[in-house]
Symmetry: D2
């Protein structure tokens, strides 16, 4: 079998580093060009010290010349940059965008939350959603979901798909700091985040909100509004999404359980926990697996669903590779760790 | 001025240790007997190494003889033990119970959540609630609120007191591990909790739920149901409570702001943040201050209020000393740190 | 190719869990019996939640019947238990002992530090040591090194093997809490270890001291004394070993560099960093790689060598699998991650 | 009593913030001007959110006008800036410099490590050293020791003062990240430091090395060389210094114990632990206390001493206030917490 030659644009950041870690363990992929902008010319050993296998590789500038000649190009760029890069790559090259640019269908929502013209919509790389695998098979452009939307959608869509929940979801999610990226900012210093929990983007301002709403609305068949509060947790990786919605009248705990069992019975990367056990982010560290659990709070009349993912793996790079596997006709699980690095 | 002689029953645990730390900084208190059960006979230096000022003090057994002869007795005992101890102390002794036994008014709720007969109800040590200071003044029995209820009540009661919110609150709170106590349990090992967020007691099972409901119901003048999901965060101290409820029709952001400004304008230990800044638990570490912020999410139609406290200080021992000050007619702020130990 | 059937005795602990995580990624191994003692009968999903691939497997008691019929048996037991278990396994079965029982050559040292009769000495599973691979090839009994001795030996043996250092080593190492195991102990609670560094076993008492001395003495060809101070760091995984010894007269920085380059030039799992970069434990999380760096402090006249490993991977389970690969004639790197999970 | 009016130059950083936290609890001090450079004009509430008591105070530029009219001026500035500021303050103003500029006596050492002309030498603010209190009494210029030198000197000077140790000290110290300051740097991001231990300045390069050597040399009465390796630990605060030196021939464990008991018997802010207990940084969080323990490793022939301090309190701001108290003739312990915030 010939190797699949993969380039990574934005190889110096956290998302790019995780794509590389996974590709290093992928039996069919050969890693080609690695590109960056301000860090072009530097050795990867100083930028991603945890990847000794690539320590001597030098970052090239992110341009068409460097990215040419690959079968797959992963984009791990700041939002707004993917369209221009993708335009220079042929239609036969698989472009997997870890950024936000092509996730939203509604141009108005894009413009409201990002303030720039909408670039378009690509097949959505969350294979667990109904119909998603069909759209990904053979695709040459893939929009990898946001990390929070991955966690929230996997926690809640079965309840909406089964018609069990009222269309108003309340979500509080805790994320590790790697979700905020590698750019040096004072509020992300270790001294500031260790020992501290804090919210941000409260009141509907987080850019992942419309993506969650888009996914849950599609599942429900009606507009689902989302109240989303992200919080920053003192850990490097992981998202714990605590999601709830009022249960529709007459919904029983058994109905809820059944909906989730049906949605996830055959999913290789969603682990629906046995009743009584709840997810912890430590269990999914470095794994492409989402842990999900759900309960019906009878007193409050709400369905409460919780998911745990690694924001960099299932929430970004793992989802990207999983989608790549589908697009290229490879076994979906190829090269992806299902088990976490714990404790 | 004569010193106030204070005893601490349960001096080996986290709550007892924090009571002692605060009393060591209280200019009017002299620390008397320290008691424990299984650890009676041990030096405090091995049990609470952070209190070198008391390193040579020996724990006595928790009994009437040891606790006699004090002006104030703090109880930091497992629930169910306070009534018997208090019964042996005279009516003129101020008994401040950091446990749950005397917090709830509804005996049925107590029995449902704790499975034992209800011991009674004592004046409630959350001075910021309407009418609370009057009830505490001169009191000789005080029930210190639970840590989660302190955080949640301070976040939400102004909205309910002003009639701004629908009576269904959704709360997700993250707590540091000290809230789970000092007993050795495998799931609380450092190896398990570092790098991990996990929920527990999901679906209405947490024992602090009825206490929150009791407080918010009193503020609202109608039954407020609470959907409460606590999560364990990788930090020793701190609670971040993210609370929301649907806004009543016509409520504006200005209404919300005004209600909180009115509730907290004169409170020495509630810091209502300027608009746009949100609380972080690091800022309140070791302090008796609650940081509170609130916003109106217009798109989702919800009031979102967030509070941060130190679960051991404002959430337990600080609230206890603050209430003691009121009960004894001392200045309410005496001996209590308002500023946090950060970073 | 037929699968290699592997059993794990002590599958509920941290070492056993890491052996399983690595075996799940090993292309030639099929996981057979999993055993435990007090936890026999429980599902692995509750004991090792990060391994969803084995969630439904049930722990059997650790006895000859359960362990029979495997090609390899990994022992991850408390010290003192391995000899009896190994005696019941045939000489053709590869027994890889992650415990201490067969590491030391000197029975007197064993008895001094462990207080029980010496069980014997097995081939030592640190392939990077001179002669070690030859002894491991075809072996059917392997003693996996201790985690601290792995880190310290890799940091210092090249200096001793090249005759550059005086035979008195001073070592201060920081370990993550998983090195202390999964048994619930109050001083290992998250509340106690987060935000805290503390030493233990100071003054020569740690049981890993004679093993370090044994390895460095063998490299030096003369008795090397070791002053070893382990410290507990607020992280789950990782060892950072800071090691130094006086440089022999006339030793230059170039001599030192050359000795290490020679020792590690061809080693697949030792990453000698380029000059000026120093190891961090985060970079080796979950990886079987040791990062090593060395410098000559001219003013103090000392060689300072620092290594970083993951105590559970290269320090225990990864070293075990690496040695298994050699013993069974498989490629040494098979199934072992060389790259870390970071950030 | 009239209040002592204190200004803080560099009030936006970690050292400045800790000075303010302590001054807020000092019964004799009134906080005057707060100054900064790039952050002048901002409210302290955004810069030091943990100090709600000062939330509305506005930072002024660091100049003579702002700092005029105070009894005490604390300087918490980058090195190289203190001399110019101090020159503009009258000789009757007490200037307490938390920076490095005036700590070293040897101009050559200063120039070698800092690369700028030597500014001079001020009375050294480590009252526990022999003769230090006398030099501080009435002083109007004080050089606050570095955080590492504070920890290391308190760990080792009694052994040198008593003539028990050979003049070659080996020191490995772990520091929380606040020691590296508040400037945003990528390697100090929470994502990078959580779960990680790493060394820096290895091989004698750290600027605190000559200060340690200066202190130990003074105690020993002969030149003491120092091999110093600092490491960055995943915690916000705290230094654990593990220090050792060869014992002089014939030195017994009792000799060692006696030397430390004599040195620290009457010290209010050094807690020499009972035999068998070792320091942990958590126990001194926020406290001005150093915990010290020492042992004789007979097999290795070394005295091993370990100290734990809070780098921002006893290591910086607490030492500064303690020295201020002495200089101004106040009780040395006034306003300083001796007990830590733990867990």
């Amino acid at each position: 079998m010939t190797a699949i030659r993969a380039a990574v644009a934005g190889a110096s950041g956290y998302a790019g580093g995780e794509v590389l870690r996974l590709l290093l363990g992928h039996p069919r992929v050969r890693i080609g060009a690695l590109t960056g902008n301000s860090q072009a010319g530097q050795a990867l050993g100083t930028l991603q010290p945890h990847l000794p296998a690539l320590a001597d590789r030098i970052l090239e500038p992110t341009d068409a010349a460097a990215l040419a000649g690959h079968d797959v190009v992963f984009l791990a760029l700041p939002h707004g940059h993917s369209a221009a890069v993708a335009a220079e790559l042929g239609d036969d090259v698989l472009v997997v965008d870890c950024g936000a640019d092509f996730r939203l269908k509604d141009a108005g929502q894009w413009e409201r939350f990002y303030g720039t013209p909408h670039a378009g919509t690509w097949p959505y790389g969350l294979p667990e959603l109904p119909g998603a695998r069909a759209a990904l098979r053979g695709a040459r452009r893939i929009a990898v979901p946001g990390c929070y939307p991955t966690a929230v959608t996997l926690a809640l869509f079965p309840a909406y798909a089964a018609g069990l929940a009222e269309p108003e979801a309340v979500i509080v999610a805790a994320s590790g700091t790697s979700g905020a990226g590698k750019a040096a900012k004072a509020h992300l210093l270790g001294s500031e985040v260790m020992g501290s929990m804090s919210p941000y983007g409260v009141g509907g301002g987080h850019r992942h909100t419309p993506e969650m709403s888009q996914n849950l609305t599609a599942a429900a068949g009606e507009e689902v509004t989302v109240s989303f509060t992200p919080t920053l947790a003192p850990m490097s990786r992981g998202i714990l999404a605590t999601c709830s919605a009022k249960a529709r009248p007459g919904v029983s705990a058994a109905d809820v359980r059944q909906a989730y069992a049906k949605a996830y019975g055959d999913e290789p990367f969603v682990h629906l926990l046995p009743e009584g056990r709840w997810p912890a982010t430590a269990a999914v560290q470095g794994a492409n697996t989402a842990f999900v659990q759900v309960a019906l709070d009878e007193a409050a009349g709400r369905i409460v669903a919780v998911s745990a993912i690694d924001n960099l793996t299932k929430g970004t790079a793992g989802g990207a590779v999983q989608s790549m596997n589908i697009a290229l006709g490879l076994p979906e699980e190829l090269g992806l760790p299902a088990n976490g690095v714990a404790p």
